[in-house]
Symmetry: C2
Subunit: 221 residues, 2 copies
Amino acid sequence: MCAAKRKPSDDPLAVPAAVIGRLSLYLRELSHFVRAGNLTTNSDELSTRLGLSAAQVRKDLAYFGQFGRPGIGYRCEELIGAIRSILGTDRRWPVLLAGVGNLGRALLGYRGFVPQGFEIVAAVDVISEKVGTEVEGVRVEHLDGLAEIVRREGIAVAILAVPAGSAQAVADRLVAAGVRGIVNFAPVTLSLPEETSLLGVDLAIQLEQVAFSVANRQLPR
Amino acid sequence: MCAAKRKPSDDPLAVPAAVIGRLSLYLRELSHFVRAGNLTTNSDELSTRLGLSAAQVRKDLAYFGQFGRPGIGYRCEELIGAIRSILGTDRRWPVLLAGVGNLGRALLGYRGFVPQGFEIVAAVDVISEKVGTEVEGVRVEHLDGLAEIVRREGIAVAILAVPAGSAQAVADRLVAAGVRGIVNFAPVTLSLPEETSLLGVDLAIQLEQVAFSVANRQLPR
DNA sequence: TAGATTGTTAATCGATTAACAATC
DNA sequence: TAGATTGTTAATCGATTAACAATC
């Protein structure tokens, strides 16, 4: 009746989340290399730049195929294409923004999304003064129109930038409207169906992590 | 002549970075519990809420001491105080913002920092039209005044929200001015002295991670 | 007391690293 | 060819989990 829940470890094809995180970093470095005019790179250069081991870079990439040539290394453009294809960013992702506050507005104006394949094509809010306005070329619509917007724009991924108090309710509505992945900037833990991808970005927590590290860093001896 | 570099594993007191990350999540949940009127909680409740195991919660906390009572659990307020003390956020951290663009402005207006002990008390930029203005009650000063600002305000931690192209140069100046930890929002890998704490938050990468997860999620069978 | 839940140890699991044959 | 660097296997390391005596 109820299918057994598969843990990640049940799936022999499962790739550790940390590997996917590093894939994004490799992609970013490779773009810099290309901009610097480099045609090829290798696991040593890539790993040194990122503070990893060369073996780790090779192993990470090996989860997905053979992208390098012994004795030569990796062709930057080729590897960029491969990683984009793995991440799924070789195509364009229309993104919905929920919550046009301070942070939401900043995200609407952020230039870094489009080159990576993401474009915020719609924004929703509940404040009537905001609804109907246009911010950074994107029309702000009412939250109530969510399902129609998601269908109209073919949206799979949303950014949640609403106040903490309404984050869970809005997240539920996003899921109900068909959104399949959410980047959540509200400082709350969301409960969502397992099949919804969720990544939390808590700005205060980022500062906390650095503060701990500063406070506990041993001084060089 | 050159002191041997200590790897984290050399230090028997070293706590895994992942543990510190979860500490922030425990703190956030505990605040919610308190707001909901709960006096005590336990490793089961905390872990379920966060999708972890109860053993992990207990083990994480055990790195730092004994905060619970067998048969009872943890007193929320008490544990909050303990975690704040561990993270170093039981005191106020004055924060410097470098880069008053779209994102910088949003961060200046973000209400979530102060309750966690962080206050942006100064902002710097290089654009002369911005210098001298006041944003969200914070005066924007010129980057050239960095060292004096850091000294004057007693700043240890900075947020870097400048364009990618100038991030490394500005980061170098932050370090030279005495900043000891940086949260970097520019989509570049920074090279900084080992003793500087660094955390990168790349907004496009957050979306990439969710996109991968959405694209590769197995549909429920 | 009986029930609940901790802190901690030992066992398991998974991820990273080292090493090297294959090969450009 | 000699040198460089990959992909991959086996060894190591570290983190998570399970289990349970201690104890509120």
